[in-house]
Amino acid sequence: MTHAHSHSHDDSAYYTEQLCTIGICGLFGGILVMLYVRNGPDGMLTFMLAEKFHPWVLWAGIGLLVLTAIRAATLWLSVGKATPAHAHDHDHDHGHDHAHEHGPGCGHDHGHEPETAVKAADPGAVQASPPAMSPAMAPPDHGPGGDGHGHDHSHGHGGHDHGHEHTWSPIRYVVLLLAPVLYFLDMPNKTFSSAAGINDVSTGGGLVADRGEATGLRFSELERAAYSPDLRSAFEGKTGTLKGQFVSSGGDNMFTLVRYKMNCCIADAIPLNAVILIDDSKMPRDAPAAEKHVNPSALQGKWVRVTGQIQFRKRRDKDVYVPVLLIQPTPEKPLGKFVEQCPPDYSQGDL
């Protein structure tokens, strides 16, 4: 299909789309850099992504900012360059791209089929127009599956259009703004609402014979040991310290310590659980509650460090073992010596 072109192209739409692209890309670049710069053991980046990806995030942010700066500078320089308008007939369904800037009087065709070569403009109809776009500037989205026009062409060169309007689609930028909005709202927060405490282990039985200290105890070690009779025997009776998030198990003498082991991001995170049991049989009845029981509502979601005797108990409904740290507070050594709050640490190094 060939058609003569008018010169009624909306140049402002081109610049608006370019500015929006620069803006959104700059925003993403800045956010990526800030995620890295403001990170720490309790930072959002540590919470969301494994450490091996952190440098990637920084370099991606820098790369985006550099590309954005280059584009902004070149767009600024190109504004005001006048190109003569020219009419041309061309087939609608051509697959060409325009990877070059058009200057005034460029006088060349734009990769069209021979019968669609650009013809010289009517000298009386010269008008300024923005420079040609590169092949990057595809027509606006018409939804997944394609643009339906069968062509990819520049909008702003020579002031010609292709027989139809190519208005830009702001909706794509609105959707893209979702991520920056979440960032500036300091979301996501760093607790899992779906985390549920384990409360189906037997609470009976006290301390077993002490077998010394398990130095450098790791959460994943205990989790793995629960599946192996030999490893369970190796750890049973030793004293160990674990750090994790407090998840209530529904009572004040039992709670679950949770860490999330992730390999890439929080979406693949696997919860590692250790049940903390409190045996208050050595505490006098009139002892303050805080010295023998935890306050689940005050500690829910908080990070705590727990020291106790390692044991393994079977779960009633699942017939598998879970690691347990048994605490037995005494008047000389109340609960606060075994369970203490600590700063958040989402790093995976000690897992």
Binding site: T21, A99, R232
Partner: protein
């Protein structure tokens, strides 16, 4: 209606988790999208139109065209060893390479096999399945687990076979339908730019080159990220409702059903190919073949990839690829399951003896 209201209530309670999953999937993929977009911009500016097509045409003077094409597909399947790239980064690069004349079937082979057949993923798969083979004591259903090396070899081998055969189907479709399979931005350049006489070295001002590169890169970044976000939103929604224990409960189902369910899970979870092995390995009660299906299908097809495919391929090609991949993965997984269980797996241990030994 009650179910709907209950689902709304659950979603409301878990909305914070929804945003966590969404943000993590997005920020994990973004660096690779930026990298892919930057490479795409450089390719678009520096590689002349149809260069790759002309090279292949030149080869076909000495070797039959069909042989060249098949060889290119076979090579494309192992390109990931030389150019390891996340699937998110491959899409913008591939779109530009298609425009430069790289055959669609070769791109498809790299796209499907690249995220599996690379050193990083093979290493992570090995690490994930090392020592992860012990089933839970007293598990209701014993599932003999494959050795680590077998798992890695099968993931790589089946991934390669699926990619190559799918690419051959794509080649057949290309010969029938040509450029109609692709969106305009991915179509081979045709006559190309008027100032492009095909030579490698073009004299063009540096500023102009930088402008073109940055414009292409930013455009591709915006284009791909938009659909990445849509896929991440859907995947996060599913992940919000599905817990680790829900998935482990699949072990009580029929093996074929488990394979289908794990394939569905691979599509909706949108895990990167480096991490999915650890997730699969953690389900110690599931059959190995089901985990294999999860590991082979996930890098080739998931929700975010589907949306990104729509920026390159037309629906006919997308559904051709989906059908070929899904059917093959299911068939090979089923065959693997029965061969493994019937001929190669060790006999199940005496469960009573195991439980008694555990309680001593």
């Amino acid at each position: 209606m009650d179910w709907f209201l209950h689902s709304l209530q659950v979603f409301g309670e878990r909305a914070p988790d929804f945003f966590k999953f969404f943000a993590s999937i997005l920020y994990e993929a973004l660096p690779f999208v930026v990298l892919g977009a930057a490479i795409a911009g450089i390719l678009e500016e520096l590689v002349p139109q149809q260069l790759i097509g002309r090279i292949l045409t030149g080869l076909e003077r000495w070797v039959p065209g069909g042989v060249v094409r098949v060889a290119a597909i076979l090579l494309g399947g192992i390109l990931g060893l030389a150019f390891p790239m996340c699937e998110c980064g491959i899409i913008p690069v591939m779109r530009r390479l298609l425009g430069k004349g790289l055959p669609l079937s070769c791109c498809t082979a790299y796209l499907l096999a690249g995220p599996i057949i690379n050193v990083v993923v093979m290493t992570s798969t090995y690490a994930a399945f090392s020592g992860a083979g012990e089933p839970a004591v007293g598990a209701a259903r014993f599932s003999p687990q494959m050795p680590t090396l077998t798992m890695v070899a099968l993931r790589v081998g089946l991934g390669y076979v699926v990619a190559v055969l799918t690419s051959l189907v794509v080649e057949w479709q290309w010969r029938r339908h040509g450029s109609k399979l692709l969106l305009p931005l991915a179509m081979p350049g045709g006559k190309g730019r008027t100032d492009d006489d095909g030579s490698l070295w073009r004299s063009r001002p540096l500023l102009q080159r930088l402008s073109n590169i940055s414009e292409t890169a930013l455009h591709d970044f915006v284009d791909i990220t938009l659909f990445l976000m849509l896929g991440a939103l859907l995947a996060s929604g599913v992940r919000t409702f599905l817990s680790h224990e829900d998935i482990a409960a699949l072990a009580t189902q029929n093996p074929l059903l488990v394979i289908v369910l794990m394939m569905g899970l691979a599509v909706v979870l949108c895990l990167c190919s480096e991490a999915d092995a650890f997730v699969a390995a953690s389900f110690t009660t599931l059959p190995s073949a089901a985990k294999l299906a999860f590991l082979v299908l996930g890098p080739m097809l998931d929700l975010k990839l589907y949306f990104m495919y729509t920026r390159v391929f037309r629906p006919r090609l997308i559904w051709t690829i989906i059908t070929a991949v899904v059917v093959q993965v299911f068939l090979y997984s089923v065959i693997t399951h029965y061969v493994w269980v019937d001929y190669a797996a060790p006999p199940p241990p005496d469960q009573a003896a195991a439980a008694a030994a555990a309680d001593r």
